[in-house]
């Protein structure tokens, strides 16, 4: 997220200041629109990381169904119960989900590149 905000060219902000536009409006009209692809990327990646979280939740949070059970822990449980069919299904869902997220992040970054050219 810091990187997203840093990527906004300071010279654009200076230009906006000389045009008489206040800080809040500069943030709303320049910084946020230019930083948002990066912000969304940060959000998506954080979310994806949380969905797939395994070690910390299992060891510290515990494995409480419906409360702290993440997808990867569910797969682990299914495998423990030798319920391979169900484990495979869940794994497939997780795989497709992460693939879709990666595509989204990739498209957002392309858009950032387009705007960043000038």
């Amino acid at each position: 997220m810091t990187a997203a905000f840093r990527s906004v060219d300071q010279r654009l902000i200076d230009a906006a200041r000389t045009l008489g536009v206040g800080r809040a409006a500069i943030y709303r009209r320049i910084v946020l629109p230019l930083a948002w692809p990066g912000l969304i990327t940060a959000l998506v990646l954080t979310f994806a990381h949380t969905v797939g979280e395994f070690g910390v939740v299992l060891m510290v949070g515990g494995n409480i169904p419906g409360v702290t059970r993440t997808l990867s822990i569910d797969i682990y449980d299914q495998v423990q119960m030798l319920n391979y069919a169900s484990a495979t299904q869940t794994a497939l869902v997780l795989l497709i989900f992460s693939f879709v997220l990666l595509v989204v992040v990739y498209l957002l970054n392309q858009r950032t590149l387009l705007w960043g050219t000038r």
Binding site: D9, R11, L12, D14, A15, A16, R17, T18, L19, G20, V21, G22, R29, I30, P33, L34, L114, W115, G116, T117, R118
Partner: protein, 246 residues
């Protein structure tokens, strides 16, 4: 245009480190009356720093910046270190066209031009349309900066600065990337505009043809040299390096 005719008076000193060992001091003292004053000198002589100080993007170590009234008194201070006056760039109401133009890449040309106009409504639209026609960029109004030519971008940047009716206009080598034909065409349109808006214009350049084509008077800047050419006294600019610096 809502502007009273007044001159811009600048007396500033600013020191900064170019590298660990090299300190550079910019000292400028001049009065820019309405019309185009060219600040002419080689790269690295502190020209941009002077404009940034005037615009409020950089802070001088000492001095004053202000507008002179009819009687020659400083009526409107933008900066005065002794009296702790330091207006924000927003409060100064000066137009600044950057060397790199700094057009907003996510907005269309028209949105860029309209950016600094506070009020909304039909008035704003007609203002924007009017100035875009004057600067011959009405046909690219709905295009983003990366889709238009270098000359058109230059014109958008000029229109964006002028539409806010600034009290003075600061131009930092805005035409340096253009070929001569294009440059002269834009300069002609700018001059046309300036006959209506009688404000001081400071043009920073190291290009002699640009300086002579647009300038009414020339202020020379060179490190360590006090020099002036065709000045209307007390006009002069100095960029001085202190003794003992490398």
């Amino acid at each position: 245009m809502g502007n009273t005719v007044s001159s811009l008076e600048v007396k500033i000193r600013k020191a900064f480190f170019v590298s660990k060992a090299r300190r550079f001091t910019v000292e400028a003292e001049f009065i820019a009356p309405p019309g185009v004053s060219v600040i002419f000198g080689p790269s690295g002589s502190g020209k941009t720093t002077i404009l940034e100080c005037i615009a409020g993007l950089a802070r001088p170590d000492a001095g004053t910046i202000g507008f002179l009234g009819d009687s020659g008194e400083t009526t409107d201070l933008l900066f005065d270190d002794a009296r702790r006056i330091d207006l924000t760039p927003q409060q100064r109401r000066l137009g600044y066209v950057f060397q790199h133009l700094a057009l907003f890449p996510h907005m269309t040309a028209a949105e860029n031009v309209a950016f600094g106009i506070a009020a909304n409504g039909a008035d704003k639209q007609s203002h924007v349309r009017d100035i875009m026609e004057r600067f011959r960029i009405a046909h690219v109004a709905t295009q983003r900066p990366d889709a238009i030519s270098g000359g058109e971008r230059q014109r958008v940047a000029l229109a964006r600065a002028l539409v806010t009716q600034p009290r003075a206009l600061l131009l930092d080598e805005p035409f340096s990337a253009l070929d001569d034909t294009l440059k002269l065409a834009i300069i002609a349109d700018l001059k046309q505009w300036l006959t209506r808006a009688k404000v001081p214009v400071l043009l920073v350049t190291h290009d002699r043809s640009e300086a002579t084509a647009l300038g009414d008077r020339m202020l020379l800047i060179d490190d360590g040299r006090i020099s002036g050419e065709q000045p209307e006294p007390p006009t002069m600019v100095t960029g001085a390096r202190p003794p003992g610096s490398l």
